[in-house]
Each structure stands twice: as structure tokens, then as C-alpha cells.
């Protein structure tokens, strides 16, 4: 009995194959996801590294060079105050993606904590799931707008206009988007709790905290990763929608949504200025969504074998 076990345990050692390599192999076979990954990496790279190569200041006003078309000095032209569009797009992308990532982090953190506590501790389940239902019944976009309206002034007074608004928008998006993650995670945890290895861990006296960190969390990682990717996309869209409605970042602080909003007034004369940030938002969100799609397939063991 023990001998056969040893043999089967030794067999994989010859052909080392771990879970993440399988996931990566499956992910690579998803054409859309790979393309998405390349596009997203390119956008991320140009947003982070771009300002070092194209070192023009995004807020530098040059009234004599306003409303220019593409030229050597300004590859993507200038806006109504003569600010360089390329620099503004890169600066705006940095803020938009930073907001997306941070808000996603917050929402995933909240969703995971609430989902695991609801699934793991039966006493908390009812209360936390009622809370989730309540949040799902809230009209989110109106509430986001109201939150921005109410807390914009006090927060920008306390932390300065940039950090204040950044904090406000990240927190507002984070606390209004954790519900789906919480529900998915709770479902997974409920199923996991019935498995033998949890029983085994409990029978050797593992404390609940250790149990969650060591046994539950690694097993619910894949749905969390998928909703994290999709969360980035929706956070970027929400942020740009807020900016588009005039309730986002202040005007001299470019984000993609804000650039689009500023350019809409002169859409008939300078349509390029609307299209560029719009394409940037759409490409980012599209690529992130495709990555999420590929991740979902790659992390699903039922599909991975095929």
C-alpha cells in the first residue's frame, strides 16, 4: 500500500508540473486573453515609462500653441490651453489606472473578508448576507455622485485637492463594488467547508484564523483573481464616468474621463481630442476584460484539461 503511494508520489517529480504552470499554459492558449495581456502591458508601460521619454509637463500652458494638430513638437496636438495631448494622455492614464487598481484592491479586500467571514462563521452569515443584499439594492451610481458631491470639499481641504479626491473616489468605488466578490467567495467557502481536508485540519486543532489563511484562502484564490481583473475594468469605467459627469477630479488634474469631458464642448471642431482618451479607456477596459475571461477559463480545472 505504502509502496504504491510512494511510486505515484514520485512520478510527478520526474515531470514537474505545478498548478500555476498549467494555468499559464491554458491562459496562453486563449488568444484574446494573450492579446489583452500584451495590450494592457503596453498601455501600462507607456503610462509609467512614457513620461521619462516624453518629458513634457502635462499641465504646462502654452497659449500660443493652442488647438494645434499633430506635429513634431506635439505628436498628438495640443488642447484649448496649448497643453500637450500626449503628455496629458500619459498623465491621465496614470491616474485612471491607479484609481482602478486601488479601488479594485479595496473592493476585493472588503469582498474577500466579508465573503470568507460569512461562509466560515455561521453566526455571521445571516447578518453579512443581509448587508450584501442591502448594498445590492442601493442605486449605486446616484449614491456615488452624491458621495462625491458631499465629501469633495471637506476632503480636498484636509488632504489637498489631489490626494483628497483620489481617496474619495477610490473609497467610494471600493465600498460600492464589493458585493459580487463577497457572494462568490461565500459560495466557494461554503462548499470548501464540507471537504475532508478542512475536517482533517480542524481535527488536529487548527485555529480558525490559521484555517482561513492556510486552507481556505488559497483555495478561493481563483475566483478572487477573476473578480479582481474584472474589478479593475469596472473601476476604471466608473471613475471616468464620474469625471465625465463633472464630479471627478479637478480640471487641472488630468484623467482619461476628465480629458474626454473637457473635449466634448469642442467636439465639432476637434473630434480627435475626444477620441484619443476614449480609445485609451476602451482599449484598457477591453484588454482587462479579455484577461479576466482568459483567467476564468485557465483557473477552471474542468476546462483546463481540454
Amino acid at each position: 500500500m505504502t509502496d504504491t503511494n510512494l511510486v505515484t508520489a514520485a512520478a510527478p517529480a520526474e515531470a514537474p508540473s505545478n498548478q500555476w504552470r498549467d494555468v499559464w499554459r491554458q491562459f496562453r492558449s486563449h488568444r484574446g486573453a494573450m492579446l489583452g495581456l500584451i495590450v494592457f502591458a503596453a498601455i501600462l508601460g507607456s503610462v509609467i515609462l512614457g513620461p521619462f521619454i516624453w518629458s513634457m509637463d502635462a499641465t504646462f500652458v502654452d497659449m500660443r500653441a493652442r488647438n494645434q494638430g499633430p506635429s513634431g513638437a506635439h505628436p498628438l496636438g495640443t488642447d484649448q490651453l496649448g497643453r500637450d495631448m500626449l503628455a496629458r494622455l500619459m498623465a491621465g492614464g496614470k491616474v485612471s489606472i491607479a484609481v482602478g487598481m486601488t479601488a479594485m484592491g479595496l473592493s476585493i479586500f472588503l469582498g474577500t473578508v466579508i465573503g470568507i467571514s460569512a461562509g466560515f462563521f455561521r453566526r455571521l452569515d445571516g447578518v453579512l448576507m443581509r448587508l450584501t443584499d442591502l448594498f445590492l439594492a442601493l442605486p449605486l451610481l446616484p449614491l456615488l455622485l452624491v458621495m462625491v458631491m458631499l465629501f469633495r470639499e471637506p476632503l480636498s481641504k484636509r488632504f489637498g485637492p489631489e490626494t483628497g479626491i483620489f481617496l474619495l473616489i477610490v473609497v467610494a468605488i471600493g465600498v460600492t463594488s464589493w458585493m459580487q466578490t463577497a457572494r462568490i467567495v461565500r459560495g466557494e467557502v461554503l462548499a470548501l467547508k464540507e471537504r475532508e481536508f478542512v475536517l482533517a485540519a480542524r481535527s488536529i486543532g487548527t485555529s480558525p484564523f490559521k484555517m482561513i489563511v492556510r486552507h481556505i484562502l488559497p483555495n478561493v484564490l481563483s475566483p478572487i483573481m477573476v473578480s479582481a481583473t474584472l474589478g479593475i475594468a469596472s473601476a476604471i469605467i466608473t471613475e471616468s464616468a464620474l469625471s465625465f459627469l463633472g464630479l471627478g477630479f479637478p480640471p487641472d488634474f488630468p484623467t482619461w474621463g476628465r480629458l474626454l469631458f473637457d473635449a466634448v464642448d469642442q467636439i465639432q471642431l476637434y473630434p480627435m481630442r475626444v477620441i484619443l482618451p476614449g480609445i485609451a479607456i476602451s482599449l484598457t477596459v477591453l484588454s482587462v476584460n479579455y484577461i479576466g475571461d482568459g483567467l476564468r477559463d485557465a483557473l477552471d480545472p474542468r476546462i483546463r484539461g481540454r
Binding site: 443584499d133 442591502l134 439594492a137 446616484p142 449614491l143 470639499e153 459627469l245 477620441i275
Partner: protein, 335 residues
């Protein structure tokens, strides 16, 4: 089923009360002062009286109770009066907008038709497009139709509506000049020409929202059809010698519609709330635009009422979706 419906309705009441409390408390923190724009010549005593008339001097729980009374008792009575010409409401204090000093309900009643026309039609069009697309792309999985459909629906929910709207404006209003870029709400349909104009000005906002809605619903339709096409009963139906049309359109489609119908029902509240951005792009003065202007003007009663109406719609249609699910699917019994 009836007891279940009844129980759900009873549960909805505390939910709504809780949501109303959240909205009320959130807005109560607002820094704006409705009397800030009063002329300085108004003496302070008068100002104080005006404040009390607006209900601002009272402690918070009394104002909350008053608002609830106005929202749930006074306003419905007034709406009833307006519909049947009675006078039950009398001259009870109504919820007054700080912007226009007229009752909030009247302004909302003026705005609802625009929202319903544009956004509601977009939802209907979206569903009408989504269902056939979902059915065909599931039936011919991985065909070129399915690939294109998947790609378009991916674009549909990745590209934000304010960008699709703006692109449509650039192409069709600025370059081709087929459609007007701004929705004219004062336009009245009297004859054929004005009807055509109405269609033309509705085309772009409806197209934008329909694409967005269709892309989501068609994915659900496709997934649900795929689930059912693999079931044993489909094989049985084919083995019995039924025509392919009957198998797909009667047996599979009926069963696949069950989850899709609930998704459609759940999406209805977004007609009112989620179209805020599209209304802003095309300058349709519907409910969403009303909310935005109220927020910019610090008009708290208006914001409170609108947000709460959106919340009521969400709770209501959640209930409708659950009940529909129970009616359509005999396997699901709540009792």
C-alpha cells in the same frame, strides 16, 4: 407562491426603510445651505422662519419621520388627486424642490416620459436584438457568427456609453449630419414629418443604450442556451424525430428563457438610474439629467427623492424577478 410573495413584500419594507435612512443620513451631512442665496436685506428673524418653514430647524429624527410621511402618505395622495381630480391631499406640506420651489413630484412627473421613451425603448430594442443573437451564437457555437457576436458584446460592455455616444455624435451628427446631436424635448409629434424628426432624434441615444443592454443580455442568453442544449432531454427530443426547429425554438428556448427573463427583469431599474450618462451625453432632460442638475445645485429634497425612487425600483424588480423565477420554473418552490 402567494404566501411567498406576501412574505417578500413584508421583508421589502424594512429594507426600504433602512435604505431611506442611509440616503437621508448621507444627505443630511451635506454642507450646502438652501438659504445661502437669499438677499442680505432679509432680516435674520425672517430667515429663521423660512428655515423652519423648510423644516430645517427640527432635530434629525423628526425631520426623517416628516420626510417619510411626506414621501409615503402626502405625495401618493397628491398623485391620486391629480389623476382623479379629487382633493384628499388637501394642503398638506409636500416635498419642495429647493431649486424651483415647486413640488418634487410634479417635476419628476414632467421628466418621466422622456426617460421612458428614450431609455425604455432602448431597453426593448436591446432585448429584441439580444435574444436572437444569443440563440444563434449558442446554436452555432464557435462559428464565425458566434465569434463576431462575442467580440461585439465584449466591446459593448467594455466601451463606456459616454464614449460610444460621443463617437456616434461625431460620425452621424457632425460628419454625416443625419441625426441631430441634441435631443429636443419641446418637440411635439403632430404629423408625419414631426414623427420622423422624433425618430431621428431618438435614434442615437437609443442605439447607444441598446448596444450596451444587448451585449449583456445576449451573453446570458447564449450561456443559458448552451447549458440546455447539452441536456439529455434535447437528445430525447431529437431521437423522437422532432424537427430541429421545434427542438431548438420550443424545447430548448423555453427552458433557457427562465434565467434570462429574470435577468431582464433585474435590468429594468437601470433604465431609470443607469441611463444618467447617456441622458447627459445627448442632453435628454429625463430623470438622470434631473438628478445631475439637482446634485450640482445642492437641491437635497430632489436628490433624496430621486435616489429613493431608484432604490424602490431596484427592490421592486428584485421581487418581480424572484416571483417570475418561481412561476416560470416549476422545479423552484419557495414554500
Amino acid at each position: 407562491m402567494l404566501t411567498y410573495t406576501f412574505r417578500r413584500l413584508l421583508i421589502a419594507i424594512p429594507t426600504l426603510l433602512f435604505i431611506s435612512l442611509i440616503i437621508f443620513l448621507l444627505l443630511d451631512l451635506a454642507p450646502g445651505d438652501p438659504l445661502a442665496q437669499m438677499p442680505l436685506t432679509v432680516p435674520p428673524e425672517v430667515k429663521q422662519k423660512m428655515r423652519e418653514a423648510l423644516g430645517l430647524g427640527e432635530p434629525i429624527h423628526i425631520r426623517y419621520a416628516l420626510w417619510l410621511k411626506q414621501f409615503f402618505i402626502v405625495e401618493p395622495l397628491h398623485i391620486f388627486d391629480a389623476m382623479f381630480g379629487t382633493n384628499i391631499g388637501g394642503d398638506a406640506q409636500r416635498i419642495i424642490s429647493w431649486q424651483t420651489r415647486s413640488p418634487v413630484a410634479d417635476i419628476i412627473a414632467q421628466r418621466i416620459p422622456q426617460t421612458l421613451w428614450v431609455v425604455g425603448l432602448a431597453y426593448v430594442v436591446g432585448v429584441a436584438i439580444a435574444l436572437p443573437i444569443g440563440i444563434i451564437s449558442a446554436y452555432k457555437q464557435y462559428s464565425w457568427f458566434d465569434q463576431i457576436g462575442t467580440f461585439i458584446s465584449m466591446i459593448g460592455f467594455s466601451v463606456p456609453t459616454f464614449f460610444t455616444g460621443v463617437v456616434l455624435i461625431i460620425i452621424f451628427a457632425v460628419n454625416l449630419q443625419w441625426f441631430p446631436s441634441i435631443y429636443n424635448t419641446t418637440h411635439k409629434v403632430t404629423d408625419w414629418d414631426s414623427f420622423v424628426f422624433q425618430l431621428r432624434q431618438m435614434a442615437m441615444p437609443v442605439a447607444v443604450l441598446a448596444l450596451y443592454n444587448a451585449s449583456q443580455i445576449s451573453r446570458f442568453m447564449r450561456a443559458s442556451m448552451l447549458d440546455n442544449l447539452r441536456q439529455d432531454y434535447v437528445r430525447t427530443a431529437r431521437a423522437k424525430g422532432l424537427k430541429e426547429r421545434v427542438v431548438v425554438l420550443t424545447h430548448v428556448l423555453r427552458n433557457s428563457m427562465i434565467p434570462v427573463v429574470t435577468v431582464i427583469a433585474l435590468g429594468v431599474p437601470t433604465i431609470f438610474g443607469g441611463a444618467i450618462i447617456t441622458e447627459q451625453v445627448f442632453k435628454v432632460n429625463g430623470l438622470g439629467q434631473l438628478l445631475i442638475t439637482a446634485i450640482h445645485a445642492n437641491d437635497l429634497p430632489m436628490v433624496q427623492t430621486l435616489t429613493f425612487i431608484f432604490a424602490i425600483l431596484i427592490v421592486l424588480f428584485n421581487l418581480v424577478a424572484d416571483i417570475l423565477y418561481g412561476i416560470l420554473d416549476p422545479r423552484i418552490r419557495y414554500d
